[in-house]
Structure formats: structure tokens, C-alpha cells
């Protein structure tokens, strides 16, 4: 599929907007999982502003594509996206992390419209997605389940139980996207608990595997447009190579920015740096 330069630029701009919102929310929230929120942004933007079908006025529309954030600590990125596309007003997030706020570190499906499943405990999302995908197959639904996983959470054994089940049950409507930013809380994944050879693992479990640059909008879109149809029989894993803390020079590839806080001055400095990444008009 041919994707226009204009569309790429629209999405790249949107990704900068979302990264700025992540920084603004971090100030409101008093801290957040910045590294992983910034690494997943381009993927989430491609899904919500270009590829997935959904209706913000009818969050449970049966024919929607489902997005399950297995790396629940990425709520800092997902929640501003859901506000921006119309699930709820942005002002609702003004009390992020505050007492009785619908918005905290991890998303709650019963408090936030558009959240498909409450997540936060790592390793659960792909199993829940397997259940959703089976429901899709039973209903002959023409929709997909996208499950975004952190790479560190692939240490969890349950992920591989789910990987086994997804190919066994022939869930071609299931797409796992791994935010391969190569760091977990304590440090580089290959030092904490090595994952490589990662693509071979997914292949051995019976999945289609694609490897892309998770910050190259064109590559992300091409991967999404090349997905097999929902009625196919093989699940797909997209390993998206990303940079933890992407877009903020002092955060990139730094495990200490897995979680962090920013005061208003520092945030303003970060936002100035992010704005320099706005693409030039074609």
C-alpha cells in the first residue's frame, strides 16, 4: 500500500504533540514512566490516528479493533491519545494520579472510556488478548486485537503460555507488538534477563514475525497494512525496535529514566527539544 508523504508528516506531527502531552502530564502526575511512554508513542499514534477502527462515541462498538496495553505503565502515553481522539475531555486528566482520579499509573477499564482491559501487572495482556481473539473468531468478527507488550515483560512465563495458545487456536486476528526498547527497570534487558534471539522465539511458537524501526512512521504503517486478514490463522508479532526515552536527549537509553519526575522548568526545556522534532511541511 502506498502511503502519502502528507500522511506520514501528519502522524509525525501528532507523535510530537503526544510526546509533549506526556511531559505535561508528568508534571501534573508528579512523575511517570517516561522512558517506556516515549518509546511506544509512534506505535500508538500509528494505530489510533491511522489504522485502527473505533468509535469514541461508542467505546464498546462491537466491530471495533481492540487495543490492549499489556505494558500498563504506558498509560501516560495512551491516556492523552484517547482524550485527543475524543473518548473524553482532556481536562479529565488534570488530576492525574490524584485522589479518586480515574487516571493513575495503570489504566482501569471501568474508569476510563476506551480502555479495553485493566492492566498493570506485567505479562497478563497477551493472555487476555488470546481470550478476546477467541471471542472474535467465535463471532466471525472482522476486527483485530492489538496487544502492546514491553520487552521486559517477556520475562514472564505467562506470555509464552499465551504465545503457545495463540498459534494453537489459530488466532490470525491477534497482533502482538513488542516495544523493544531494550531496557527494563534495572537496566538493559540483555543484562537483566536476556531475550535474544527474540524473533526466533516468536517464530518457534508459530507466529508471523516482522521486525521494524518503531520510530519510523512509514515502516510502522507498512507493517500494519501488510497484516494478514482477521480471518487468517496465524498470529503476528511485530518487534518494534525503539529507544527508551525517545526524543529527549538526556533520557534516551538511560535506565534511570524508566520512571522519573520533571519540574516545570525542566519540562519546558524538554518540550522545546521535542518541538524541534516537528517535521517540515512537504
Amino acid at each position: 500500500m502506498e502511503i502519502s508523504e502528507k500522511e506520514i508528516i501528519r502522524l509525525q506531527k501528532k507523535a510530537v504533540d503526544i510526546r509533549k502531552k506526556i511531559i505535561e502530564l508528568t508534571v501534573i502526575a508528579g512523575g511517570g514512566h517516561l522512558g517506556g511512554a516515549l518509546s511506544m508513542t509512534d506505535i500508538v499514534v500509528a494505530l489510533y490516528y491511522h489504522f485502527m477502527k473505533y468509535d469514541p462515541k461508542n467505546p464498546r462498538w462491537p466491530e471495533r479493533d481492540r487495543f490492549i496495553l499489556s505494558k500498563g505503565h504506558g498509560a501516560l502515553c495512551l491516556c492523552p491519545v484517547l482524550a485527543d481522539v475524543g473518548f473524553y475531555p482532556e481536562e479529565l486528566m488534570n488530576n492525574f494520579n490524584g485522589l479518586d482520579s480515574p487516571f493513575g499509573m495503570h489504566p482501569d477499564m471501568n474508569k476510563i472510556p476506551g480502555i479495553e482491559m485493566s492492566t498493570g501487572s506485567l505479562g497478563h495482556g497477551l493472555s487476555v488478548s488470546v481470550g478476546a481473539a477467541i471471542a472474535g473468531k467465535l463471532d466471525h468478527g472482522n476486527w483485530r486485537i492489538f496487544c502492546l507488550l514491553g520487552d521486559g515483560e517477556l520475562n514472564e512465563g505467562m506470555v509464552w503460555e499465551a504465545a503457545m495458545a495463540a498459534s494453537h487456536f489459530k488466532l490470525g486476528n491477534l497482533v502482538a507488538i513488542v516495544d523493544r526498547n531494550k531496557f527494563s527497570l534495572d537496566g538493559p534487558t540483555e543484562e537483566v534477563m536476556s531475550l535474544e534471539p527474540l524473533a526466533e522465539k516468536w517464530k518457534a511458537f508459530g507466529w508471523n514475525v516482522m521486525e521494524i524501526d518503531g520510530h519510523n512512521m512509514r515502516e510502522i504503517l507498512q507493517a500494519l497494512h501488510s497484516l494478514p486478514s482477521p480471518d487468517s490463522e496465524k498470529p503476528t508479532c511485530i518487534i518494534a525496535h525503539t529507544i527508551k526515552g525517545k526524543g529527549v536527549s538526556f533520557m534516551e537509553n538511560r535506565a534511570e529514566w524508566h520512571y522519573g519526575g520533571l519540574d516545570e522548568n525542566k519540562a519546558a526545556e524538554v518540550i522545546r527539544e521535542l518541538e524541534m522534532a516537528y517535521p517540515k511541511e512537504a
Partner: protein, 323 residues
Amino acid sequence: MPQGFTFNVFDVDRFATREMYGKVLAELGQRNKNIVVLTADLMRSNKTGDFAKVCPDRFFNFGIAEQNMMAAAAGLAVNGKIPYVSTYAVFASLRCAEQVRTDIAYPKLNVRIVSSHSGLSMGNGGTTHHATEDIAIMRSMANMTVLVPADANECAKAVVESIDYSGPIYIRLGRGAEPIVYKTDFPFRIGKANIVREGKDVSVIACGICVMASIKAARKLEQEGISVRIIDMHTIKPLDKETIVQAAQETGNILTVEEHNIIGGLGSAVAEVLAEEHLNVRFRRLGIPDIYSTIGQPDDLYHRYGLDEEGVYRAIKALILNN
């Protein structure tokens, strides 16, 4: 026995509890297309295979991977299905505790966890296969309803009631050799205990297989002039406080009997009510005395831990005589 099934109350003596579960599920599954059944390589043991025969497209064997199965049930429930998830009680409660709590109870999803082989019913399987903590674990989860049917008939009623019930349910079944308590039709409502025998000197509050042992002990005590009320507390949560308070006020002495650790289960739940309602009655908990149960045949184990007729008889006497 619920109405409208191809088998009736007279067949019950032929069915073990888990056989009844399999048959009820198979019939309900043909009527309600949203029912899906999940098991973890135990369809031949827990009788979910009966459902698989008649509704093969809605039966999913997850292999020996209970955590994945439990979370997948959540994904099915989010998308409008009514999953019945079955494995041994020890795995449903302990191995999957976090999946049940975080993926099912917290989002309040309509998943029905029907465990089999609870308590000591796995006998010579030993401690790895005895489930003596499951009631405590499940009842400590907000949103969770906990049911412990006394026999195959009550199991059938519990499963039928569970279909349209809102929120997650844990149904605790034994291995299936349970004697029949309910030989004629009886009322069953989640959250409302059944008084299966009237009495005025002492109340025994029991659940599961211990209900029948308690009835037998009561019959024996009747001959000695002691009148024992037997309460089948089939719903551990939400607990029927009213029936407990009434029993305490009317009979004074209260004994709880359960095939579970005395910590955290039915006995603890009843104790909480008695204490908070300022009911100063003689009270004892009969159950597994906070140890890991030994190896043996189930009946030998029930005898060892005092959960048979003789054990309940002795416990009631001790309670009344206060020794």
C-alpha cells in the same frame, strides 16, 4: 434439581458432583450460545468433556497452563462471553490467584471459576493437590462471590443460578463422591443459607461435604436428647449474616465445619459476624488445624481431621460441655 433438564432428581444418586456439573453445563451450553468452557488438560477429570461433545466450537482446552487460561477467560468475558473455567481447586486458587484477582475480580467480569477436587478430596495426592486455602483466598477478593455446594443437586442449582448473575463467581466442588443432602426439590438463592435441619440446642454451620457429616452427627445426638440445627452455608460470600445471628440468638452454641484450613474460611467468616454483632456464644471452628494435610484416602483423612460423623459428633459434645 432445576426444572427443564433431561435428567431429574431421581438420577442424582447416580451422579457425582462433578458429573452433575458436566451434564448441567452441557445442557445449558446448548441453550445459551454465549457460554464458553475452558479447562487445562482436565476435561476427562472435571467432566467438562460433556460440554465439549455437544458444543465443540465453544470448548477450549488450554493445556497445562492455568494462568493463561484464567486471563483468557477475562478476555472472553470482556467481549460478551460467559466463561466457565475449570481446573483443580488448588490451581484455580493458588497458581492463578493473581490472574483471578487482577484480571477477573478487579474489573468485575462475568467469569465463573468452577473448581473441582477441593479440600482433601484428592486424598493420596497429598498436600500439592489438597486445596485448603481456596475459600480464604477467594473471599478476600472484592467483587468475588464464593459458593460451596453440599451435593450434586445443589451444584446443579448453583451453576444454573450463575448464568445471569452479575460479577465473578467461584464455585467449589469436591471430587464427586459426596452423599446426597437434597433428595427432594429445595430453594436455592445465592447469599441465602439453607437450614436443612431444625434444632434448638446448638447450630452447626457447614459447607460442602461437611453438611452431610453434620446431619449424621445431629441424628445421633438427637437420640441423646440434644437438638442440633444444621445450616448449609452454601454461599460463603456474600455471607448470610441474618441466619447466623438468628442461630446464635436461638441456639447459643455455634460450631462451624469445613474442609478447609480453620484460618480464613467459613469458620473465620462466621466468627467475624459473631464478634461484630456482640453475640457472646460458645463457638468452635472445625477444619484443618493450620497444618499441611497428610496422605491417605479421603475418608481416612476426613476421619483424621474430625470431618466425618464421629468427628462432628465429638466436636458438638465438646462445645456443649465446654471442654
